[in-house]
């Protein structure tokens, strides 16, 4: 987790807080009212062996930033003694956040910058599942979507498009190619993303992204959006090479280089004296 986002996981922490009634996080979010929809908060029912594996992995790879008990490392304690980097509390972030962050390779964080970037995951699927189960065992939070959740067969492609253009295109571009945000941050391209990762990102709101829980965008709508994104990725481009589908800028570059270039080459040929 990057250093300038201490509050990233708290929204979902609040879900857990209210539902289970723990007072771990203090009264701060109590004022925010009852926030959780019951469907989202699932307590872990994982096997003890999986939890044990998760615990080992967590202590090795995560605890230095997120604390031995998921309590997080506040920014002001960095440098004094052991912790080298701060990280948010993971209590109540749910298995979805862990699965998204770890299996897209964003966590454990590599270089610190404006944005934590995706990459190759350091853990295999089973290890990710163990970590997710371990973190989810502390407090309920958004769960990893099931296969049924991600079954888009009955979802409406057209509605997905409308929802995508209203909720997603402003940051991720009309063809899911991503876009710039302020101060060096950006919304990544999501057309190659796995459906479960798209789902988890909406549910947990990683980094700059706001949270789209199951009440602001309900599961059926999430399915429709995922279907639309997959369709953008899979559909052929009827008019030829799509030039990155980033809009008129790449078109302008093409006409100035290839178009005008080819025609000037022809002009030179036309004007040159034949031998």
């Amino acid at each position: 987790m990057s250093s300038e986002s201490p509050r990233r996981r708290r929204p979902t922490a609040a879900l857990a807080l209210v539902t289970v009634g723990l007072i771990l996080m203090g009264g701060l979010y109590a004022a925010a009212g009852s926030l959780a929809s019951p469907a989202q908060a699932e307590t872990s029912e994982a096997s003890p062996a999986l939890l044990e594996e998760g615990s080992v992995l967590y202590k090795e790879g995560c605890s230095s930033c997120h604390g031995l008990n998921l309590e997080g490392v506040p920014a002001d304690s960095v440098g004094k003694g052991n912790p080298k980097q701060n990280g948010p509390s993971l209590i109540g972030v749910g298995a979805a956040a862990v699965d998204f962050q770890v299996s897209t390779g964003r966590m454990p964080v590599g270089a610190t910058g404006q944005q934590v970037v995706a990459g190759r995951s350091s853990y295999n699927e089973e290890e990710v599942a163990a970590l997710a189960a371990y973190v989810a065992s502390f407090a309920p939070g958004p769960a990893i979507p099931s296969e049924e959740d991600l079954d888009t067969t009955d979802a409406s492609l057209a509605e997905g498009g409308e929802l995508f253009r209203t909720n997603c295109a402003q940051c991720h571009n009309f063809a899911a190619q991503g876009g710039a945000l302020s101060n060096g941050t950006y919304a990544p391209a999501i057309d190659p993303s796995r459906p479960d990762h798209i789902w988890e990102a909406m549910l947990t709101g990683p980094q700059s992204m706001p949270v789209f829980n199951d009440t602001t965008i309900n599961p059926d709508e999430k399915k429709a959006i995922i279907k639309y994104i997959q369709n953008i990725n899979a559909a052929p481009s009827p008019g030829g090479a799509p030039l990155g589908t980033v809009g008129p800028v790449s078109e302008g570059l093409l006409i100035w280089t290839v178009g005008l270039g080819a025609l000037i080459a022809c002009s030179v040929w036309l004007g040159a004296k034949a031998k």
Binding site: Q114, E162, Q170, G179, S182, A241, T245, L263
Partner: protein, 548 residues
Amino acid sequence: MSTTQRAVATTTTWVDDRTGAGKWLKKNLRKVFPDHWSFMLGEIALYSFILCLLTGVYLTLFFNPSMKEVVYNGSYAPLNGIKMTQAYESTLRVSFDVRGGLLVRQVHHWAALLFVAAVSVHMLRVFFTGAFRKPRELNWVIGVGLMTLAILEGFAGYSLPDDLLSGTGLRIAQGIVLAIPLVGSYVSSFLFGGEFPGTDFIPRLYSIHILLIPGILLGMLTAHLLLVWYQKHTQFPGPGRTNKNVVGFPLFPVYVAKAGGFFFIVSGIITLIAAMFTINPIWLYGPYVPDQVTAGSQPDWYIGWLDGAVRVIPNWETVLFGYNISWNILLPALIIPGIMFTLLALYPWIEAKATGDKREHHLLDRPRNAPTRTGLGAMGLTFYVLMWISGGNDLIAQAFSWSINSITWTIRVLLIVLPPLVFVITRRTCLGLQRRDRDKLLHGRETGIIKRMPSGEYLEVHAPVSSATRAKLVASRESDYAPIEAPPAVDANGVKAPKKGRLGVKLSNFYFANRVIPPTDEEIAEGQHHAADDLETVRPSGQITSGH
């Protein structure tokens, strides 16, 4: 007489009896056109415009410029059941349900992009070679008008399909209209038939796009070409080329084949591009809805500089007696472009004021021979390109993982610092090149052969330059002109000189700063003679012919 000859004679007689075209044809069939690749830039513009007209007519057969809402039910599944205007729906239809319709749409759009690009480069060629000088000032002004109309026409076309991108563009245009002092709200309400977006604007824009602007464009284009025809084309300096002749190939047959063939080349290349590269995939943008937007909302390239200017301007706004003056919109969208285009249109007279030059010019300048003009042009171009880059700041930020805020600030600084710097560097470079040319004429070219003098000194041997090179270099005299001299502040009778004319002197001094005076014929003859002698000392005559 063969059958063909007889047929030609009969036809000619028939036409001449009725029109008297014979005299004109006699003069013009063998009219001479000089050959140079850069003279084809205007033709690229002309032909892409013609292609726009042809494809545009085809598109009107299918496009329905209406903002009435319908529910889509066509062959593009991801939009099925969605409400949209008939304009958007019919654009989808021509793209997906008319064989070759998408191709024609793409040819139309690519040709439009190329049209403005070719006009721009053509204009740069005319500017940097001084082709706008007397007697071609009027044609320059017509050219600036054509450029302005081309940009407007392009924007109108971009706005017609009523997809998310074109609607966003119109929303911005409407915001700019609103910023006009005093009448903004009224103009906007009249243009849009009420509030934005309304249901009137696209049909209105359609008439403007397919009738009004193309009509004016055609008229001005005709005038532009007639003047080129009548005044005869300029030519670059070279062997046998003088200010009083034009050297090249005859209209018939060479230019009929070359220029006619070039029309097909331009059309062919644009069509091939349209075959291979998508342009404006409106189905991906979706229909325009005023509360939807996409990241990377950009105009077509020729509006990019205006959009860029609007992006970099600081947020200045004045409220005066309860009225808003939005400098943050007026300056970049109306005032700065207004000043730029006015200066551009008036440039021939500004330069003539500085040079005091009243001669006719048919021989083109090499850019180095007009250092101040070349510097000014490079400066203006830098300003333009920076604004243009700013129009893509979000994509640059994304592509290079830079901060969009830093990019904006960098461009703000560069817009002030870079253009003057470019001016100074360009002018100096030109002056340096001019001095080198002068040296070649006065001392011959450097051969790379070193000889040792009896005194022990080493010298490089010079050789005379070829006649072709000499013709090119000597043309600097055509470009040169003496600066206007300031009248004495107080004349012989003690009367103070009038203030009038001082501006001209100042301009002139600025224009001719560090002027390199081209050598006279005697100096050149002497210099070349010396060089020949010099060469003789190391290579007896005949061994080396003059080089380049």
